[in-house]
């Protein structure tokens, strides 16, 4: 194994992590400022679940309704994607060095990460559909309240 190859890989990994965190926190900060400026007066209840729609489709729906919230959601997705991108890059780096043992190891980690994000469907089918409908109503009610005076 070429130790200098290890060094270069480590520097690149460090760069990916840094860019990801800076971009994500920037998006979250802008989105939060925008959302609070427009909807800072609502009285949210975080004590019970319900206003959040599961999955990426649900996030996209609320993002269209609230642009600030959309930016925060995008920032949070970039944050989750940062370690995933790091693992994906490692697959390529190990493959370029024909280190097949570690290609298998990193592909396995990548597959497990994908499995986590894909698990929403199973949770949705486990929930009664009325619950999803109710959470949709709550979110539109909150939306109406926040547009009030």
């Amino acid at each position: 194994m070429d130790p200098r190859g290890d060094d270069r890989m480590e520097r690149l990994i460090g760069g990916i992590l840094r860019v990801g965190v800076v971009a994500a926190t920037g998006l979250v900060l802008c989105g939060e400022a925008l959302h609070l400026a427009r909807h800072g007066g609502v009285r949210p209840d975080f004590g019970s679940l319900g206003t959040n729609l599961p999955g990426l489709a649900g996030m996209a729906r609320l993002a269209l309704e609230f642009p600030g919230r959309g930016l925060v959601e995008l920032g949070l997705l970039v944050l989750v994607a940062t370690p995933v991108a790091r693992v994906a890059f490692s697959v390529l780096a190990f493959a370029a060095r024909r280190d097949w043992t570690y290609v298998v190891v990193t592909v396995l980690v990548l597959a497990l990460l994908g499995l986590g994000l894909a698990s929403g469907g199973e949770a949705r089918t486990a929930q009664p559909t009325s619950a999803a409908a109710m959470s949709a109503r709550t979110s539109s009610r909150n939306a109406a309240a926040s547009r009030g005076p």
Binding site: T25, G41, G75, L79, L113, L117
Partner: protein, 279 residues
């Protein structure tokens, strides 16, 4: 309370949690989840979801520096991430099956253990370069770290034992919404006999991937509330960075005792609330 004032208070609390998490070595997640649940009456799912995202931010931010300096063992981290991500998926799935009151009791027990463990003096003195295991040799897990007189080589031992502990660390991360950094360091330092600073930096490197596996499940379930996660992420990250700066200047035993008592009180309160169902 309006969203604006709640967000400002949560931001301040998260800043403090990040600071205390870094100074005690427990990590921001371990402090911010009970804070959100006890002081702000936030649902434990939302608290854990917000915490996981802040854990990804602090881990990635700090790992960026450590990886460049050559402390983290990338190959060892990658191998053990198979265990932590598998455990994290199991933990996040378990979270859906058990009531939040049970999660609170488990969390409280973990806090009490952590408080007791933080009073134990960290192992210091020279690292003994142990002969590596056969399995560690086959997987080329050994590495070097930057010493005062050039790179110092070290071996890795008891890979299966370390792997098993990493499964547990991942499971706790997914169930409770924490990074499980302390347990990861124990697995590498005490079990696999990796030098202490390599253990802490490699653990930090792995925490982001572990938390991302859990966060994926939480996102898919709708357990990430962006209006709550935003102030938590924006607070814990600078708090943890500040804590890492202050840490070398804070070695006093009284300070550690004060933190240990505070963490123990949080743990006791979580267990109490869990048993009385007030969560």
């Amino acid at each position: 309370m309006t969203l604006l004032s709640l967000s400002l208070l949560v931001w301040l609390g998260s800043l403090l949690a990040g600071l205390v998490g870094a100074l005690t070595g427990l990590g921001g997640g371990v402090v911010v989840v009970p804070l959100l649940a006890l002081a702000f009456h936030v649902n434990l799912r939302y608290a854990a979801g917000a915490s996981l995202l802040s854990v990804i931010a602090t881990s990635s931010g700090a790992a960026a520096a450590y990886v460049r300096e050559g402390w983290s063992n990338v190959r060892l981290g990658m191998l053990l991430e198979v265990a932590t991500t598998l455990g994290a998926l199991a933990g996040a799935s378990t979270a859906a099956l058990v009531p939040t009151t049970a999660v609170a009791v488990i969390f409280g027990a973990l806090l009490l253990l952590a408080a007791a463990g933080s009073l134990r003096r960290p192992p210091e003195g020279p690292d003994v370069a142990a002969p590596p295991d056969r399995l560690a040799g086959v997987l080329r897990l050994g590495g070097t770290y930057p010493g005062p007189a050039g790179p110092v080589a070290y071996g890795v031992r008891r890979v299966p034992g370390g792997f098993a502990l990493m499964l547990l660390a991942g499971w706790l991360s997914g169930l409770l919404g924490v990074g499980s950094g302390a347990l990861k360091v124990t697995a590498m330092d005490d079990v696999m006999r990796v030098p202490f600073k390599v253990s802490t930096t490699t653990s930090n490197f792995m925490i982001g991937v572990t938390a991302a596996a859990s966060a994926g499940v939480y996102l898919a379930r709708g357990w990430v509330e962006p209006r709550l996660a935003a102030p938590v992420v924006l607070g814990v990250l600078p708090g943890a960075l500040l804590g890492a700066r202050l840490l070398p200047r804070m070695r006093s035993r009284t300070l550690r005792a004060v933190f240990a008592v505070a963490v123990a009180v949080l743990g006791g309160e979580m267990i109490l609330r869990g048993f009385t169902g007030r969560l």
